[in-house]
Symmetry: C2
Subunit: 453 residues, 2 copies
Amino acid sequence: MSDIKKYIEENKDRFLNELFDLIRIPSISSISDHKEDMIRAAEYWKETILAAGADFAEVSPTKGNPVVYGEKIIDPSLPTVIVYAHYDVMPVDPIDLWKTQPFEPVIKDGKIWARGADDDKGQGFMHAKAFEYLVKTNQLKCNVKFMIEGEEEIGSPSMGEWCEQNKERLKGDVILVSDTGMIAADVPSITVGLRGLTYLQLEVTGPNRDLHSGLFGGAVANPINILSDMISSLIDKDGRITVPGFYDDVLESTPEERDALNKAPFSVEEYKTAIDVKALHGEKGYTTIERTGIRPTLDVCGIWGGYAGEGAKTVLPSKAYAKISSRLVPHQNNEKIAELLKAHLESIAPEYVKVKVDILHGGQAFVTPIDFPAYKAAEKALQDVFGKTAIPTRSGGSIPIIATFEEILGIKSLLLGFGLESDAIHSPNENYPLENFYNGIESIVKFYEHYKG
Amino acid sequence: MSDIKKYIEENKDRFLNELFDLIRIPSISSISDHKEDMIRAAEYWKETILAAGADFAEVSPTKGNPVVYGEKIIDPSLPTVIVYAHYDVMPVDPIDLWKTQPFEPVIKDGKIWARGADDDKGQGFMHAKAFEYLVKTNQLKCNVKFMIEGEEEIGSPSMGEWCEQNKERLKGDVILVSDTGMIAADVPSITVGLRGLTYLQLEVTGPNRDLHSGLFGGAVANPINILSDMISSLIDKDGRITVPGFYDDVLESTPEERDALNKAPFSVEEYKTAIDVKALHGEKGYTTIERTGIRPTLDVCGIWGGYAGEGAKTVLPSKAYAKISSRLVPHQNNEKIAELLKAHLESIAPEYVKVKVDILHGGQAFVTPIDFPAYKAAEKALQDVFGKTAIPTRSGGSIPIIATFEEILGIKSLLLGFGLESDAIHSPNENYPLENFYNGIESIVKFYEHYKG
């Protein structure tokens, strides 16, 4: 057994207890009632970094939730790794679908079950523990800086400005991030592309108050029907988004790139079975891997209006709402797409309703090269731990801040994630296998061993 | 001042206090938590009828909420009027739009503000007080029976069976109902037509759990988008409902009937201003009065799915729901239309989702003749009170049980309503003008004076 394996074995109960205390803080960034929990989670991370061996750590304010910054500088002439993670989590709705309490982690079937178990408390915590091991055993061969933010799940609205303000102390060679997934528990992969995101809220107002659907129905436009018409018109029968200009800047993949992408192990049948659907649906002319990897999308993430209670209430509602998100690919600009979408929604609204479109957040798509030193070090680390060569993959998800890091700090990121599709991040019953948690710590330790900057 | 005017003047504080105690009982029939309130409201009505002078009254059980039955039989050879009203009310959502507590009535600007102030506690109570006056002053010249139900707002699911079981004691000449509106506070009208109703709930299921919209978006059909497509397809660009067979049994009005209907005093501009919309929208080729009076409709009364909280949650939801209602006209059969709608929704659902359609309730459309004795008596009564000839109108609303009464009991109904459009029934800030309450009592007293059976 390697030294790091032994260290994990001897300390795993403590590791889990410490992680569980972090998970128990309900740090939901999108709900303002949780402001104090954000501070508590940030303070907890600061203490974690200091206890692990950092020379310095602080909770650094931003105009939103604070960023935890910490560092251990061995020798300024050595390479520097900046670890990025986030302490905020997604909301827990629909709460009734959870089989356990979202903020009371339990271990069952070899997995941690809780909101944030994977995204990104579990994955972030692996870095604290890998760092602890390297410091305690005097094996750290580079400088390490931590920046742990509290607004990733709402699009990192304060992080860009914070990076600008802290540019001086954020000098480094690579940003190391574990906030993505791997193909399977025994199939290591490194994420080389992420989609961008734009997220809007649409409000459709018909009459100035809820009306009796009998007395007014048929004569007054119903905002729910109108909202449905508008949403329905956004995607055509071939699964293409109808917003003018939407595809203009899309980087079309070459046939060779598409072939390579489609060589990743993937079973349509298993995919369908896992989510229990009879048929898949997406843009015509593309495979499932392509649809989530290299193609932009449009999804309604939420819709509401009128009566949603028990039984039958006959109402012609005043308002209807939808939350609409669009995943973007290189070289779509998220701000441009947000404006295109907003203008399009305003233009298709019929005269008998009023619409209001709010842009809630967004981020750029991102592609990383596979020939830079950090990639090579990660590849070797995963070979050590899994005995297999890592597969470069594109993830359909978005980490909007990654593109900003490169833009402001001029530093590339390496996405070394250990999540699984079955981890149900952003969903009820989020979980993270202990195996992935331990393999992640080990892989990160190996990364530092191989990384020469 | 007439005797009844004097009686109202001397007793109005007591009338209002008694009505307010009824309103304070939150008897919402569509929400099962209110079961006990239904019983309390029924008991209150029983006491009200007895106190007003009935020989007998009881809370009569049904498979759902009980019916209050009461009677005063003067002479079996005299005509018998059966008063129908309902003690149940609509839900109060959205509660934050109420300016007062829905179940704590207040008087302001000459109106009673509360849920049920008009529909149908306020209007129903007028009958108890008119009856009280006639009994106390020994002027009652016919037999009176009361049947006050507790499930009108959910489509009267138990009332038909109760009528069957009580057929013997429900013999009578006319059913008198105040659960509709009048054209304006000084323009009396009698409702001669009501639309029918069918009400469905549609559930669309995509994947078996909420998915991350980044990881899966674009490759898996989103049930909210699909639901929007389905709803959008139900009405064409001319405002016509696309369900095959939907219009087959619609009784087309003659040009003469349409002309007569369009002669009712009505201002499109005032109508638009009152509800604050720039343009009206409905079936092509019909006026607003026709669209709500003689044409069937389809409205989504509620829609929900995915994330509806604060901020941006990126989720591809598992389920989306809609409550869909359709107002029907003679001779559409509500059960047939419900089945047509259900079959159509099932048929248009694409293979990548599952749909479930529940028929929640329904009722037949209804037309009453204007040449039967009760109509004539009502016309004279309104002439006495308002000094104007009542206008026969068609209401877009539905009282599903009215058609059932004729079918089971063989008795026609007379819809003598005193509500105004501004009463906001089924909406926040329901209200009922005191003027209409007092004029209603007086008109009912006059009705009994003129009615000879």
